[in-house]
Amino acid sequence: MSPEPEDEVIICRCEEVSRKEILEAIAEGARTVNEVKMRTRAGMGLCQGKTCRRLVSRILAEQTGQPMGEIAPATFRPPVRPVPIGVLASKDDEGQSDAS
């Protein structure tokens, strides 16, 4: 089977994971978004899967014949937006923002 040009499309932009790599993970047995994530890193980057998690679900649905709604979604992890460690570590900053 020769690769289709559309398989070169990047699905996870943060980690530069192509559709081809997602298809390979599914061929190896991945059936959930988390399993695809653990094998390919799709969704592990700066945006934490905001863009790609639905795309990955859709590819899983199309490849396995399961309805979109039945594909187990990826885990959401805090903090939803990137935060500098200096800010995260500082109790005082939080107190000030509460007061202002």
Binding site: M44, L46, Q48
Partner: protein, 383 residues
């Protein structure tokens, strides 16, 4: 065909058992209630360290690291194993003498490691806080990607004939005359004469099914993941505060330490916390804040680096911090492989090898008596 052995649990320990058993030609069926590496094995960091006491653990760690050298060659895909070495760092001058004694004692027992005075430390790692007392370098230590390792062990076991059943939860174990007869699951009954309880934080619940009391409870840990950072931020890819060793023994409150690791993908994994919160895997923001502060104390350059993800997982805590590996005395065919606390990744391979050696009747790589379940009841009798 009926399996010779049913392994319960698709974490690193269960997958290593399935791998080493199937390599010996044993017919293995592995049952996992979720997916491979969906519990503790995906919730840790990346280190393989050879200096966690007591002596029996040192032996397990060394033997397992040696197996990793082989696994990194023989598994079906890259597990991101590399011999990075690790560095322990000491914050306060008051703690230096006790730390130096520990390092010298490890050296006396044959471990390759060297003490680093403050100026040595700063020369090697110029981004560390300049006021640290010193540290030590452990060149034998290594790093691996735990998730990829667990997946690769499962795949290699499958290639050698293991039957791996996901989304299959164990509901009971049938005995016949104090021997294992079958495993009952949500997907049907599996007749077998041997079961390996590699269910980690859930191993006590499995033991209860056959009346075996396994003193393993979940101990929560938090990890902070940063964006990828330049390779020259830290040169040694595993840097941990020496105070980490004291947190292992803490039994109340939240024990915190700094543990800075850079993975192959360039991200930092910042540990570590330890607390007992039952089976609660949720992230506690107060712990994350304190853990971030602890790591920042040792590596001030972290201040501007972004956190992209945090997670918490559960370590299978055994009361003496030594894993439990071996056959139960009271139930023939019930084998236990659990209680590794934070060392499941380090000790996973040797645990799988030992279980395979026990079941196939081969001489064990590491002495088994200190790992037995009966050590706990013997100690009670001695008390």
């Amino acid at each position: 065909m009926l399996p010779d052995v049913v392994v319960i649990g698709g974490g690193i320990v269960g997958c290593a058992c399935a791998y080493y058993l199937s390599r010996e030609g044993v017919r293995v069926c592995l049952v996992e209630k979720g997916t491979i590496a969906s519990g503790t094995s995906r919730a840790g960091q990346s280190h393989i360290v050879l200096w966690e006491e007591p002596d029996i653990n040192l032996q397990l760690e060394k033997a397992s690291r040696d197996l990793y050298e082989e696994l990194s060659e023989e598994l079906p895909f890259d597990i991101e194993y590399r011999r990075t070495g690790s560095m322990a760092i000491v914050e306060n001058p008051a703690d230096w003498e006790a730390f130096a004694r520990t390092v010298r004692s490890l050296q006396a027992r044959g471990l390759n490691c060297q003490l680093l005075q403050n100026d040595d430390l700063i020369r090697l790692e110029p981004n560390l806080a300049p006021d640290l007392a010193g540290g030590a370098f452990f060149p034998e230590d290594a790093q691996v990607n735990p998730i990829l390792t667990t997946l690769a062990l499962a795949q290699a076991a499958r290639e050698r004939g293991a039957d791996i059943r996901l989304f299959t939860e164990v509901t009971g174990i049938a005995l016949s005359d104090h021997r294992v007869a079958a495993v009952e699951t949500t997907a049907g009954r599996i007749p077998t004469a041997r079961v390996v309880d590699a269910a980690g934080v859930w191993s006590a619940a499995i033991g209860k099914m056959v009346g075996v009391d396994i003193p393993v409870i979940p101990r929560r840990g938090h990890i902070i993941v940063t964006e990828p950072v330049p390779e020259n931020l830290i040169h040694c890819k595993i840097i941990l505060a020496a105070g980490y060793m004291q947190t292992l023994g803490a039994t109340t409150g939240v024990a915190l330490s700094a543990n800075i690791q850079q993975t192959r993908s360039g991200n930092l994994l910042l540990g570590s916390s330890r607390d007992f919160a039952g089976f609660d895997r949720s992230v506690n923001p107060a712990v994350i804040q304190a853990q971030a502060a602890r790591n920042l104390r040792f590596l001030p350059a972290l201040a501007d680096i972004h956190v992209i993800r945090t997670y918490a997982g559960l370590r299978p805590y055994s009361p003496d911090l030594v894993p439990i590996i071996g056959e139960a005395d009271s139930v023939k065919g019930f084998y236990i492989a659990t209680g590794h606390e934070g060392a499941g990744i380090t000790m996973g391979p040797i645990t799988g090898k030992l279980i395979s050696e026990i079941i196939t009747g081969k001489a064990p790589t590491v002495p088994l008596e200190p790992l037995s379940l009966r050590r706990f009841s013997q100690r009670q009798e001695e008390d």
